[in-house]
């Protein structure tokens, strides 16, 4: 799915940006460098960003400005990353967060 708005009557043509690769739940996808992770994922039609701890309910983008924390995911091993305000970087590994996520504990 491609939800990108390439042509816009007011904003014009989408400016060319550097393309990068992200790994999302093990699958590779293309994104623009420094666009919010959430935008890159929404472009592919992904809606469920995390599932709640107690009831395992799905959550997705809600406020898009970093306030509500509904869009948190595990990014490069760190849970609770607000994807709507976190710029995408090449090679990032992103996972749907289940509940509170996994915190790596060093032995």
């Amino acid at each position: 799915m491609n939800m990108r708005i390439v042509e816009h009557p007011i904003l014009g043509k989408l400016e060319k940006k550097k393309k990068i690769k992200l790994w999302v739940n093990g699958r590779q996808l293309e994104a623009y460098e420094n666009e919010p992770i959430a935008a890159a994922l929404a472009n592919t039609g992904l809606k469920v960003f995390h599932r709640t701890q107690e009831l395992n309910e799905p959550r997705g983008i809600f406020c898009a400005i970093g306030r509500c924390t509904d869009c948190v995911m595990i990014v490069d091993g760190q849970p609770n990353v607000r994807t709507c305000v976190t710029p995408a970087k090449n090679g990032m590994r992103i996972q749907t967060q289940k509940g509170l996520g996994k915190w790596s504990v060093k032995k």
Partner: protein, 362 residues
Amino acid sequence: MSGAELVIVGAGPAGLTAALESAKSGVEVVLIDENERPGGQLFKQIHKFFGSEEHQAGRRGYEIGYELLDKCKEAGVKIMLNTTVWGIFNKNTLGLVTQNKTKILQAKNIILATGASENPLAFPGWTLPGVMGAGAAQTMINIHRVLPGRRILMVGSGNVGLIVTYQLLQAGAKVVAVLEAMPKVGGYQVHASKIRRAGVPILTSCTVVEAKGADSVDEAIICSLDSQGKNIKHTEKKLKIDLICLAVGLSPLAELCWMAGCKFKYLSALGGHIPVHDEYMQTSIDGLYVAGDLAGVEEASTAMEEGRLAGVAVAHSLGYITKQEMEERKKVIWDSLQFLRTGPFGEMRQKAKNELIKKWSK
């Protein structure tokens, strides 16, 4: 510990004009924003603003944004991006986080221009992916250039609901309907007319009762409301949609004001608990100013004027301009504000603002 004459929190319309106005007078300004880029919500305002020539009427928000940014840079405003202000201590000390490190910044004066956040609306299924704020959808389409849905239900016919509906249409989506719980449209008639002539129905006395879908919304149930605002039985209708946008008002982001110990007043016309401030935008705490939606939810145009006002006041308090200069500039800004606060929507806000200022002076 570093310091500055003036720290402005929030680089939206109010923060940018405050920075510009004070920097032009010679104030050393640090402007902080938690985002990658400055501009706040200005850059997602792609419609032409109302107003008069001197108020940039007919210009689109993002154009004003670019211009303000250029001018701020010219005036020597130091902009710190990706920086979150998480606390305010002893009335003049800010706790910041930037790149995972916390530090402290002391300010002789602080202008808070943190804006507002969208109100949610709770109904069964409202937490499902595919239910989002109208402003969120606006951010997605106009800033990130990604459509969050293709068949959309807009809840709320205030100006935000109407404008975002129009912009969703411009972005290529279909808006199935705009719902309004009240018996009449909330926003300006001209905004409503734009989307009506594009074929979007506006259903008044109507609300969303449920969002359905397994992992994301695929259906909305709507229902008519009686004169008491209660659901009328057997009027439920199903709408096939993939996105519900909520445009049910905004609330000031006042955490820093609360933390600083500012006095507040509840004014529903301005969006809720508003930090009490004087006619120069100074709060109940010396040297702490507010501007923009934080000082009462209004419009970008009023936010910019309030920012200017706070900037002028700070420039005077630091001795860069005389009292007379300040008063002269204040008068121009106040005339402008009063002008922007006319009409059926503006008058309500003007009244509420007057109450705030009255409370402060007591």
